[in-house]
């Protein structure tokens, strides 16, 4: 059990550093901002108590906020998907079916993982980008930013499932 938590702790450090030191520095365009660190919340074991998912989600968002000087922005967005993760898991798997303990690509297949990650990443990005501009002026421009960034984030997340965090 302790080994699992150490593994998740190291993964947490890893995704935050990747996000802050590499992806946040990419600056491809205002329309393409990948937020890869949500992978940490996606990969938490299914049996993790929901209060713990919420707390970990808040902490992971807040640690990104720390680096980007955006207090509360990422924390609020990650708390949102921390809360919606369980409903999304049930939605994607179907309520009756038994789920693998670790919601990874390897355990559940590419199609399952794609739907699961697209849904949560889309919710996260939607919340994040609209809170960032803090208005609905330029609604469609922000929507395009959300969609493009979601595509890129999911791409990076799926890619990482083939390279690292395979189990």
């Amino acid at each position: 059990m302790a080994r699992i938590w150490i593994k998740y702790f190291l993964m947490f450090i890893f995704v935050v550093l990747i996000q802050v030191l590499i992806l946040n520095q990419l600056q491809i365009s205002g329309y393409l901002n990948p937020y890869f660190y949500v992978l940490f919340i996606l990969l938490l074991p299914v049996s993790t108590p929901r209060y713990l998912v919420l707390l970990l989600a808040f902490i992971s968002g807040f640690s990104i906020d720390f680096f980007t000087d955006t207090p509360g922005l990422h924390a609020a967005a990650t708390t949102m998907i921390g809360y919606l993760r369980t409903p999304v898991l049930y939605l994607v798997s179907g309520r009756g079916s038994d789920m693998a303990e670790y919601p990874t690509l390897k355990n559940n297949g590419l199609r399952w993982f794609l739907v699961y990650s697209v849904l949560l990443v889309l919710i996260h990005h939607f919340f994040l980008f609209y809170m960032e501009v803090f208005s609905f002026t330029g609604f469609f421009r922000t929507l395009i930013r959300v969609i493009f960034s979601t595509i890129l984030s999911v791409f990076v997340i799926v890619l990482s499932q083939f390279l690292i965090f395979r189990d």
């Binding site: 600056q27 901002n33 707390l55 924390a75 809360y83 960032e132 803090f134």
Partner: protein, 281 residues
């Protein structure tokens, strides 16, 4: 009483969720009113160290660009030095006054350790702070022109509000005819900003140079901001819509100078007396 606890326990997930979201929103709202000195100062200490280490590696990749920018600046400075030497013979008094106003500004060189251009509120982190004489509200210049203004300072790092930030504008003027307005960023493209408040009777040309007006005591007068890319008259408005190509390439900003206006306390005290200085900022 028991049933209350049972009720709370049964809904502990929703309650915790709402609680955390409320914390998040309080942080966001306090950020939006710009009262966030505490947050950024505490973060600058820890994250500043990490960014500093990291940028000391990545800086090597920018060396060729930085070299070119520095040599261009060198050439420009040498040119203005020559021009000044020529001027001094003919118009002694005017030059004396100008020199005096230039001398009230002191420049502190610093290195950029973190920077972004793709968010709506972009910030730049510098590797120097209060220990090196940097204080909030000092202007920040790059070799090509204005980059931003210092917002928060820790002991050895400082955070600069980039020009690419929806919450900042700078007092600007047309170099050719001195009409002034304010330059703001619209959050769309890191290469372009908008010049507002230029009335219709002003005669404009594409390619006109936009410089700082010197009204705000943050920047000296005449620091380059950009050139006019295009302009149009929008129906129902009293002012031109002017698109400005920024002279600074914010993607490659590496070395900057922080401007310390030694006369600023004096100017501000005076403006406080008349109580109208803030309109011009």
């Amino acid at each position: 009483m028991w049933s209350l606890f049972r009720y709370l326990y049964r809904h502990h997930v929703v309650i915790l969720f709402l609680f955390l979201e409320i914390i998040g929103f309080i942080l966001i709202f306090s950020y939006n009113s710009f009262q966030r000195a505490g947050f950024i100062n505490s973060s600058a200490y820890i994250t500043g160290k990490i960014y500093d280490r990291y940028s000391s590696i990545t800086d090597y990749f920018n060396l060729s660009i930085v070299n070119r920018q520095l040599s261009e600046e060198n050439a420009r400075l040498r040119e203005s030095l020559l021009a000044q030497a020529r001027n001094e013979d003919s118009t002694g008094t005017i030059q004396y006054i100008r020199n005096d106003s230039v001398r009230s500004f002191q420049f502190i060189p610093a290195r950029v350790i973190n920077n972004s251009v793709n968010r709506q509120h972009n910030f730049i982190t510098l590797n120097k702070g209060a220990r090196h004489g940097i204080r909030p509200d000092m202007g920040v210049l790059t070799p090509q022109g204005v980059a931003g203004v210092v917002s928060h300072v820790s002991d050895s790092y400082s955070v600069v509000i980039s020009m690419l930030n929806l919450r900042w504008n700078v007092s600007a003027k047309l170099k050719r005819n001195n009409y002034f307005g304010s330059l703001t960023w619209d959050g769309k493209d890191y290469r372009y900003a908008l010049l507002n408040e230029i009335p219709f009777h002003v005669d404009l040309m594409e390619g006109d140079t936009i410089v700082t007006s010197g009204f705000s005591s943050i920047f000296p007068e005449g620091m380059p901001l950009g050139i006019i890319e295009s302009y149009k008259k929008e129906g129902g408005d009293n002012f031109y819509q002017i698109r400005v190509r920024l002279s600074v390439d914010f993607k490659s900003v590496t070395y900057v100078e922080v401007i310390d206006n030694r006369k600023r306390p004096e100017i501000e005290a005076l403006e406080k007396l008349t109580n109208n200085g803030k309109d011009l900022d």
